[in-house]
């Protein structure tokens, strides 16, 4: 594990990504304690106050402190995105590995169906599900998880297929090993690495998707401090108080970039490259 981390930080993208992740994690865990004001605290005298000593990132249309809302908003966005990615990846991985192991006609049918499901763009799928299940953060998580599953199935299956055709799996088959052993002890350990990389990058999509849903009014509901929601609310005052718009936008961008960088960094770290 430590070897992995050292390899990760050796390249600039891995180092920056990891640093950002640590900041995000810190904000998530202890954000509310560091927030100088309560996020819902309104201060009508301080409406649209520009960033300064009193409000480091300024105040919004209700006088609420932007930075406090941002810090608290970490909790609204990141754990949800992680949960959605985990559920989507887990489901996708199981279906993908099973499909690769089964092979033959069954595998083909499953994959063609997955391809067909992917004809519905992810956002649309999430919107359809949310409109049926009802608004709210929990349903948004479920919707995103379902929207992510098909692409994770595809990726897992591709990786699992390449592992399935390796000679060490053939040796195990020739030895008469059972299916359970082969899938869990021979295939899965080699499938994990690419899946983890892909899932990490997916978290950044989940963050963006979750923020988009909230922006459209179908995810987190006011007065939550969710970043997408903050951008939506800030739009009408965009010329008066641009900082109310820019702060949450930057937060979303940084969070997405963090996971992207770490995912890319993991890809390099887990792949010992031949330098000759």
């Amino acid at each position: 594990m430590t070897e992995l981390l050292t390899r990760l930080v050796r390249k600039p993208q891995g180092a920056i990504g990891l640093a950002l992740l640590i900041v995000l994690a810190a904000a998530c865990v202890c954000g509310p304690w560091f927030a100088p004001y309560a996020p819902e605290k309104m201060d009508f005298l301080g409406r649209f106050r520009a960033p300064g000593w009193q409000h480091w990132l300024g105040a919004d249309q209700f006088g609420r402190d932007v930075m406090s809302r941002l810090l608290v908003g970490t909790r609204a966005t990141i754990p949800m995105a992680l949960a959605a990615t985990l559920i989507g990846s887990g489901t996708g991985a199981m279906i993908g590995t099973a499909s690769a192991y089964l092979g033959g006609r069954l595998d083909e049918i499953i994959m063609r169906t997955i391809d067909a499901v992917m004809a519905i763009p992810g956002l649309l799928m999430a919107l359809l599900l949310v409109s049926t299940l009802g608004n709210g953060a929990g349903n948004a998580v479920l919707a995103i998880a379902v929207a992510f599953t098909p692409s994770m199935v595809r990726i897992t299956r591709a990786v699992a297929l390449s592992v399935r055709h390796q000679d060490y799996v053939k040796v195990a088959l020739a030895r008469g090993e059972g299916a359970a052993w082969i899938v869990f002890r021979e295939m899965l350990p080699n499938v994990m690495a690419p899946i983890v990389i892909e899932a990490t990058i997916r978290v950044s999509f989940a963050i963006m998707l979750f923020a988009t849903l909230s922006f459209l009014g179908l995810g987190a509901q006011p007065p939550a401090s969710e970043w997408g929601l903050m951008v939506a609310e800030a739009r009408q005052y965009m010329h008066q108080a641009p900082w109310v718009l820019i702060a949450p936008s930057a937060a979303i961008a940084l969070a997405a970039i963090a996971f992207n960088l770490v995912g890319d960094g993991l890809r390099d770290a887990l792949n010992p490259k031949d330098e000759r």
């Binding site: 063609r112 169906t113 391809d115 067909a116 499901v117 004809a119 519905i120 763009p121 992810g122 956002l123 649309l124 919107l127 359809l128 599900l129 409109s131 049926t132 950044s204 963006m208 998707l209 923020a211 988009t212 922006f215 459209l216 009014g217 179908l218 997408g228 951008v231 939506a232 739009r235 965009m238 010329h239 641009p242 718009l245 820019i246 936008s249 979303i252 961008a253 997405a256 970039i257 992207n260």
Partner: protein, 315 residues
């Protein structure tokens, strides 16, 4: 490309459309325990609920509902909007045509900018130009569409007041105004797409440049410009067709948000309105039309690619 391959590909597209239909129906009509309740909200009266159930045929068993719905949809009839009372399909198709205008403009801009940029970045790999473009592209990919749209609006509407922040004018009415209204949305979509396409082109071109046959061409003593123009370019441009098809996928995802922000009455906006007003037939029509568009584009791209790439042999 053989006839057999073509038939298989078209059958696949048909299968895709069927699955899409099943999925959309299942999520919107079969899944909710009481679709009527979902549509009318919590405060609906029992009579209103019963009326809606009757109108939408929700009292039939699910599979029967699906059969009715699918057979009508295949004929192009998606029912009547619960909001306006007008037939849904013609509305949605008109909306689609406006979205297509936006999409095509954006695609043209994207391909014109991103393809050369990607190739250029690959040629300058490791140097400053490459690093800069790659970082910018990275940012473009890490921003949700609504952020890019909002930030661009913020930056540009101040400096260029003749660009309207929202709204749509049909080119059939007033070309000049239409163009002005399209600039911001097309720009926003293009920025995102350019980031995606540029990265893909760069990695494709790098693969080509590092291939053995490019090395062989160089070692044959051919001048660099011949190697690039005659050998590398043709192979690097081959996947552009596939990339454009993938783009349409990104586009369809983002168009909902873009049209919402810029108030363009395309199919994305129509879907959002349908969703917020719980107009079931419109939701179904919009979703199916979007997915079918994507499936058609993909099939077309596969066919064009097969015509171009002589290496692919289909049996």
């Amino acid at each position: 490309m053989t006839f057999a391959w073509l038939v298989r590909r078209l059958l696949l597209m048909l299968y895709t459309i069927v699955i899409v239909g099943v999925l959309v129906f299942a999520i919107t009509q079969a899944l909710p325990a009481d679709a009527a309740q979902t549509l009318l909200g919590e405060n609906a009266s029992p009579e209103a609920l019963a009326a809606v159930r009757e109108r939408l045929g929700l009292n039939d068993p699910v599979w029967l509902q699906f059969v009715h719905w699918a057979t009508r949809a295949a004929a192009g009839d998606f029912g009547v909007s619960m909001r306006t009372g007008l037939p849904v399909a013609p509305e949605m198709l008109t909306a689609l045509s406006r979205s297509l205008l936006l999409a095509v403009c954006a695609l043209i801009v994207t391909v014109a900018v991103a393809v050369p940029l990607g190739i250029f970045a690959a040629l300058r790999q490791g140097r400053l130009a490459d690093t800069v473009t790659s970082v910018v592209a990275y940012l473009g990919v890490s921003l949700p569409e609504f952020v890019t749209a909002t930030v661009l609006t913020l930056l540009l509407t101040d400096k260029l007041p003749f660009l309207p922040a929202t709204g749509y004018v049909s080119p059939l009415e007033d070309v000049g105004s239409a163009i002005r209204h399209l600039v911001l949305p097309v720009l926003t979509v293009s920025v995102i797409l350019i980031a995606h396409v540029m990265r893909m082109m760069r990695s494709e071109t790098l693969d080509v440049l590092q291939s053995d046959y490019i090395r062989a061409a160089r070692l044959k003593g051919l001048p660099e410009r011949t190697v690039l123009a005659r050998h590398a370019l043709r192979n690097a441009l081959l996947p552009v067709v596939t990339i454009i098809a993938l783009d349409v996928g990104y586009l369809l995802g983002g168009i909902i948000v873009i049209e919402e922000i810029f108030a363009i009455p395309g199919i994305g906006r129509a879907l959002m309105i349908a969703i917020t007003t719980r107009d079931l037939p419109s939701i179904q029509a919009g979703a199916v039309i979007m997915a079918v568009t994507y499936a058609l584009t993909n099939t077309a791209a596969d066919v064009v690619y097969a015509l171009l790439d002589r290496r692919i042999r289909y049996d």
